[in-house]
Amino acid sequence: MNAILTHAPALFVVLPFVAAAIAALCPRHVAAWIAAITACLVLALTVGYEISTEGARPLIYAFGGFAPPAGITFRIDDFNIIPIILISAIGAVAALHTLGDGAHEASGSRGSLAPALLLLEIGALLGVASTGDAFNLFVFLEVASVSAYGLVALGGDRDKRGFKAAFDYLIFGALGASFYVVGVGFLYMSTGSLNFADIAARLRVAPAPQLEAAAYGFLFTGLALKAAMFPLHGWLPRAYALAPSFATALLAGASGAAALLALARVTFGVFGDAHPMIVMVLQTLAAPLGAAAILWGGLRAIYAKDARLMLSFSAVAEAGFLFLGLSLGTQAALAAVLVKIIADGLGKTTLFVAAASARRLTSSTSVESWRGAFARQPAAAAALSIGLASTLGAPLTLGFVGKWLLVDAAIARGWIWAAVIMVIGSILPVIYVGRSLERVLFQPGPPAPEGVKASPFSIAPILLCAAALVITGVASAPLVDAAGSAAAELMAEGAR
């Protein structure tokens, strides 16, 4: 048991990767079970690790026993442990969904490919969140992206536009990766190291302003592309709308979060919030573009007729909130961003899975098809409603807490304009969330077709997610405290 916990950080990644290889060789049904069981095991592992290392973090895990800076390390600290659990939880929900209502979305010869890609994606995202090495981060980003392209392309079987969406995603993703790796190159040129902690230390000893500026510019652009920052979000809506629902549940919930997390680590943990380049990029790029994303995503979501497209544009707006939050550059803002990441992740996963379950009964993807959902399948509709309420930032959900903390951070920073944008950004969902909720809860709809029932493998996990959104929205003090200390730790790391 002890040995498992000691090597747990490695297992976060190794376990899903090995299982992915096995799953790819198995028949479809077996592969789906392998994915589900592995994802649940990884979730158990991350939660167990969090509990057993309470107070002992930060922990550095050196792969193969090679010490940093030469060896590759994973660094698990208070800052990334919460997102690590979030990613593995979302992974488990998505993997279970392939056993449930998502099963029919990947059939035929590619049936066992879907679970395998899902596992690769989970492992790679956990790697992105855990790694303490700049180049290793690139590797995991690429594994995550490549599996994501595959996952999106699976949607092409049902709707040919899915292939084009996957191709667009590939182009944007490759661009992002190139920018990131060029940034790593500059970083290596200026410091001679690839280990984040080591780079941070060397930057203080021997600053090289121009190289650093170039490095950060490339790193920021690359990661911003991966996190779908406006106006580099073009790939996201169609990719999310056309991918199979289990893929979207994972990507929308976890992949943007992982990229943003990496960006936060590079920004505040490596360069530090006082670095002139950071201040410049955050204030002149991240802040206005984040604000634009909030407005643009919100408006597009209002005009989207397709439910998945609406949720995707809502995700673009939420990414805007995160970027605007990051650009505030204060500890309180970073804590708020962390809370918002959790709220958005749980919310989007719940929504995409619930939408897929609702879709099975109506075989339509428009918002109109949600009519009467509550009468047909109360459980799925309840999860859908709570997810929507959290997107709206309704009180007693985690979305509300995140919104409150972000606006508080903006006012405390003196950026009243940012607070105004955030408030407008929380009003826009009134229209599309209100319209959706009215259809789900109050409008009559057609009865459910005979013999079709929502699968518990899809419904039970999202009910748990919805419950988590409410519980953490009512008694969120522990979570807010944890986010606060996580942000404090990261800021302190960068300030050294």
């Binding site: 009180p395 009003i427 109050f442 003090a477």
Partner: protein, 483 residues
């Protein structure tokens, strides 16, 4: 029973009542009786809590904590406790009335109606008992969500449009105003507790106070101050008991209650007095009083007339809160309660007249006094109270508001208050005078003048007299909360 338990039960009982109502879906008699018992229980608890406060205790309870300085907490103080007593008491009366109304109109969604009324009352109790602005905001939003299904009760196109306007005004206004100003308060003070003398006193300058005042007053769009009032006349498509509930028990009352409480305990008298926008807001409230009265005059539909009357009468409360003189604030508080009692009487009476004689327009009111005498005379009492005639509840607050305006050295406002009473008299006594004339026989005959619900307006009409008699006691009870 411990006082803290009573606090939480005042919210939990109506909340549970909703689920009990849903559970008894198939047995209407058991359902209505059960909800009635819950209403009695809530009312009793509210009275008990008020009694404890009278004895000098101040029960408080923290339910959960969101972040440092942001607990979901309850605390009973005189103003909130009085609001809880009036609201839960009127819930009980409304319930009696609704049982009759819903059965008479053979409503198809009775269970849903009773369940959401219960939820709305639970949220209102939360608003009344909130210990801080954060908690108040949460319950305020819950109230919006709980009342939406009531507004769209009939499910037809008109109801759905009314519902869209209802949500479309209340939610954005609360986000842009109440939410933003609440967060701002938290950013400045690090907490949002309601404190005697005002939490923000000494922490904000006149400009910021002015901005926060605007955000708070317009953010509480439930108060229906012009121009945030558009949802209220439209929401009249809902059944009459819902109108009674929106106007007197829950929504509009909760809106002005929130504004009053925020002015007293968050901004504080000092900040309100110095706020740069105070003058403008005072005139907006005054304009709201006058314009709504004039609009009421032009409405022939009796429910629409009563709706505009609510806007006018409750803008008076906001006006009183902005005066921030001891008499003005006391007058504002009493006006809130007096209006609730009188307006619910008017709605009950108008609803009974409509169901028993089929008359829904002022122009059709001739003969009402003989066709539905009980309801008609209750209507007269309610009207007299709203106008401010003794011996009815509305008399004292009108007098105090006049005094308050004079005290603040605002003769213009005092004159305007007098004029608004005259307007009230015109738009409410018009149906009364019409009703006294002989009619040409019922427009549509429906048998029910002596139904179960016919007691309700009698009870509330007696209530307006009771409030008049016990005004001094109520004022003494409220005193520790006010200036």
């Amino acid at each position: 029973m411990s006082l803290e338990l009573a606090l939480i039960l005042m919210i939990a009982l109506p909340f549970a009542s909703a689920f009990v109502a849903a559970a008894f879906d198939g047995a209407p008699d058991a359902r209505d009786a059960a909800v009635g018992l819950f209403a009695i229980g809530t009312f009793a608890l509210a009275l008990m809590t008020a009694g404890e406060i009278w004895d000098g205790r101040a029960p408080a309870l923290t339910i959960a904590s969101i972040a440092p300085g942001l607990p979901i907490a309850l605390r009973a103080e005189p103003l909130g406790a009085a609001f809880a007593v009036i609201s839960s008491g009127l819930w009980l009366v409304t319930h009696v009335y609704s049982i009759g109304y819903m059965r008479e109109t053979e409503d198809l969604q009775q269970t849903r109606f009773f369940a959401f009324v219960s939820l709305a009352v639970a949220a209102t109790m939360g608003v009344a008992l909130s210990a801080n602005l954060f908690t108040l905001f949460i319950f305020y939003e819950c109230l919006t969500f709980a009342t939406y299904p009531l507004v769209v009760h009939y499910g037809d196109e008109a109801s759905r449009r009314a519902g869209a306007v209802y949500i479309g005004i209340l939610l954005p206004a609360s986000f842009a105003g109440l939410f933003a100003a609440s967060v701002w308060t938290y950013t400045i003070a690090g907490r949002t507790d309601f404190e005697a003398g005002g939490l923000l006193t000494g922490m904000i300058d006149a400009n910021l106070a002015g901005l926060l005042l605007v955000l708070f007053v317009f953010g509480c769009a439930k108060s229906a101050i012009i121009p945030m009032h558009l949802w209220l006349p439209r929401a009249m498509v809902a059944p009459t008991p819902v109108s009674a509930l929106l106007h007197a028990v829950c929504v509009v009352s909760a809106g002005v209650f929130a504004i009053l409480k925020i002015c007293l305990f968050i901004l504080g008298p000092e900040a309100v007095a110095t706020a740069v926008t105070r003058e403008a807001m005072t005139w907006i409230a005054a304009a709201s009083v006058t314009i709504a009265s004039i609009l009421a005059l032009t409405r022939d539909d009796i429910k629409a007339r009563l709706a505009y009357s609510t806007i006018s009468q409750l803008s008076l409360v906001i006006l009183g809160a902005l005066l921030m003189t001891p008499t003005g604030v006391l007058g504002a508080s009493l006006q809130m309660f007096a209006h609730a009692m009188a307006k619910i009487t008017l709605f009950f009476a108008a609803g009974l007249i409509a169901t028993s004689t089929g008359r829904t327009r002022v122009s059709e009111y001739a003969g009402v006094s003989t066709e539905a005498p009980v309801a008609f005379w209750c209507f007269v009492i309610g009207a007299a109270s709203l106008v401010g005639l003794p011996p009815f509840a509305g008399a004292w607050p009108k007098l105090m508001l006049l005094n308050g305006a004079a005290e603040a050295g605002r003769p213009m406002l005092a004159a305007l208050l007098g004029a608004s009473s005259v307007l009230t008299a015109i738009y409410l006594f018009e149906p009364v005078i019409k009703g006294l004339r002989p009619g040409s026989g019922p427009v549509a005959s429906r048998t029910s003048a002596a139904s179960f619900g016919a007691m309700a307006p009698v009870i509330t009409a007696l209530g307006t007299i009771g409030l008049f008699v016990f005004s001094a006691a109520l004022a003494a009870f409220l005193k520790p909360s006010l200036l």
